[in-house]
Point group: none
Chain length 234, copies 4
């Protein structure tokens, strides 16, 4: 059913439609009229519907194809020698690819809802999770983030990049976001902790669950007070 068409012209048309759709969706997201895509591909609107039952299906197809390459890359990096480099490098690479692609951006944000894409979504989460775990194992990434945090961060980074001023240079915002993931090294722990790493910011003891509102930063009033004094004297 999802097999590629057999006839040469059909295959050619399918490719051209995908290409045109990719460009159009990248530029304007789902908003672009399907007729425009058909015209760009040099076919009738009906032909588009022969290949893809729905505009949404076309969108998913375009995006899935793109994401598959992204997932492939993740899987290829799973056995990289330097897990930290691999992880951060991969994030940067993904963001670069999606940065100006409205469609891809949306799709990565949306958890790839379609049936067709579900497998891809799982593969993505799996491979990215593995990259993350390995990077955490070597201390390149703080241990309190999980794969969903990373996925969200990727989306955020794309959006940030899209908004960046020309003088910022590409990747500036992503690099910044990556910093949020870095483990503060050994020596830091002797100094004051201020990062939201899910331990008391003063004594490091585990925090009580705070199911609602702003997450707690201190294990109790004593530490909060201590931090307060420290800040005052800083």
């Amino acid at each position: 059913m999802s097999g590629r068409p057999q006839r040469a012209d059909a295959r050619r048309n399918r490719e051209r439609i995908l290409e045109a759709a990719f460009e159009a969706f990248a530029a304007d997201g789902r908003l672009v009229p399907l007729d425009d895509i058909a015209r760009r591909a040099g076919v009738g609107a009906g032909t588009v519907y022969r290949h893809f039952p729905t505009k949404e299906a076309l969108f998913q197809a375009v995006v899935t194809e793109r994401i598959e390459r992204i997932v492939d890359e993740a899987e290829a990096l799973v056995h990289a020698e330097e897990p930290g480099e691999a992880f951060y490098g991969y994030l940067m690479w993904v963001v670069e690819r999606a940065m100006f692609n409205h469609a891809l951006c949306d799709a990565l944000a949306a958890d790839l809802g379609t049936l067709d894409a579900r497998g891809t979504d799982e593969r993505f989460t799996l491979a990215l999770g593995e990259l993350l775990r390995r990077a955490q194992a070597v201390g390149a990434v703080r241990p309190d983030v999980d794969v969903q945090d990373v996925r969200s961060l990727m989306v955020g980074a794309m959006v940030m990049e899209r908004r960046r001023r020309p003088e910022g240079g590409p990747g500036r915002m992503t690099a910044l976001a990556c910093d949020a993931l870095r483990l503060v090294t050994k020596d830091d722990e002797t100094g004051p902790r201020e990062r939201n790493e899910r331990g008391c910011a003063v004594c490091g003891k585990p925090l009580a669950a705070a199911p609602t509102g702003r997450p707690a930063r201190f294990c109790g009033p004593a530490c909060r007070q201590k931090a307060h004094r420290r800040r005052k004297t800083a």
Copy 2:
């Protein structure tokens, strides 16, 4: 253009339209039909057009009004006692406000392009910049970020929050993003630097501009090699 209507009922209608539009745009973004807004406001579609020449103009008006309050808050915080708390608290507050507001999110991302909003945008940048500077002055924020970085980060944080899983708790992603801004404390500087703070990660010397591709992390091959060895032995 900026003249407000004179008659009492006209002014009342204008308010009701803005209110209805705010709710509608917040929920569904620009997609919501104008007729729905008019109906919610209890007026005819024509009345909406008497007050706002275009649907887009209405959108901008709604959003500008909201952002003005956000800017007000920033200005109010400029003289807060604790610049660090003020800065991070403000970020969190903004994100919380915008998190589930489709319209606000879009608008903050878009640099407030309209003529009407330009003043607001400037005020925003000014006040936020002041908050940032003061936080940097007390060492609460790393010195290599500027106000545009922060604005982008806000947008990214909103998007991340919107994607968060229910179990993540509100603010989780924003807190994470804030960590990217925190200054690593004195003691850290003796340890290995891994953050993208715009100096060589080994020797701290300024980096050559890397207009494209992944930003450089080392000032040259020597430092890169040094870092490599260090990692090996870790």
Copy 3:
């Protein structure tokens, strides 16, 4: 919600749409394109949709209005002096109205499914049932038919009329169908019974239920044989 529009032009347009739709549906049934109706009414397609949310809704509106008049007539006849004449006359009148009206024909056949029309359908069944009961009471209609039989018969009669040759004259087929309903008079009962009146065709005793296949005509083998002989000798 189903209130008529207040403005004069809207009311006028609504009327024109209903009129145009009536003609169009009468001629071609539901098949007629809505744009044609709009054009005939001298309005845009959008205007049609302002008055009727759906093509089907328009169809129902047209047809319901027509059927209401038909029901009104039935209710008016309930107290007629001559129940037999009233009943048969009414059938004929209904068929004449619907004969060349594709839409009405379909609608009467279909049990008026819409919520809007449900009340009308009930009223119709009630009034027609009353006409029938009174006609049966005076012996003008055989007692073994019920109101649903009559409704079906009406539909059948319309279809038959529609197919009639020009030389048949209007009402010919309906008159024929009506004959199926007439009670065979007193004297007949002494003669051989051949009609499907739900008693043994020979002795008149009640028939065993025949839940499937062709309904039984005789109470048992004996009578069947008797009838067979009789026919032979006829």
Copy 4:
């Protein structure tokens, strides 16, 4: 046009198309998409067009073939021993066949307009007419109906059956319709005549033509009055 294809596979395809089309048309009438038929037949749409120039032509072919079998049956019954049984039984049989066959129903109603089918239509009328005449000859059918009446009645019966409630049992409406055709027996003629048998209901003299409105039942005011009195005293 009537030349059958020569090659074995072509002939086989033709058969499969007809079969698939029969099923599809029976279920949904002309509405079914041609592609569906082609798929059901296991051929391409183009192949359908090789055999039938038009969708409508296919429809006609399907229906004609079916009707031919119906006509065959009629011709086979022409020499049945019991003309009455043969006639009524045949009607029932036809209705049963067509009852849930949308296509057949439509076709029987429409006088088989195509050139191809014209011969079939004539044969049908001829055979049915013969059945009718013989049934009339033995007094099983009233003499004032002709073959076109019967054809119409068949169509009407189908429609009625289609509308019947489940509890009515199959054939109920057809049986009712057949009653309209039965001759009221000798003895009846002494009693009051109420059936529309094309003579004055009182004196039996021929009726004046009534081209419009309800057909006359009496030859003149005198007889009408007489009937009225009779009814009063009944």
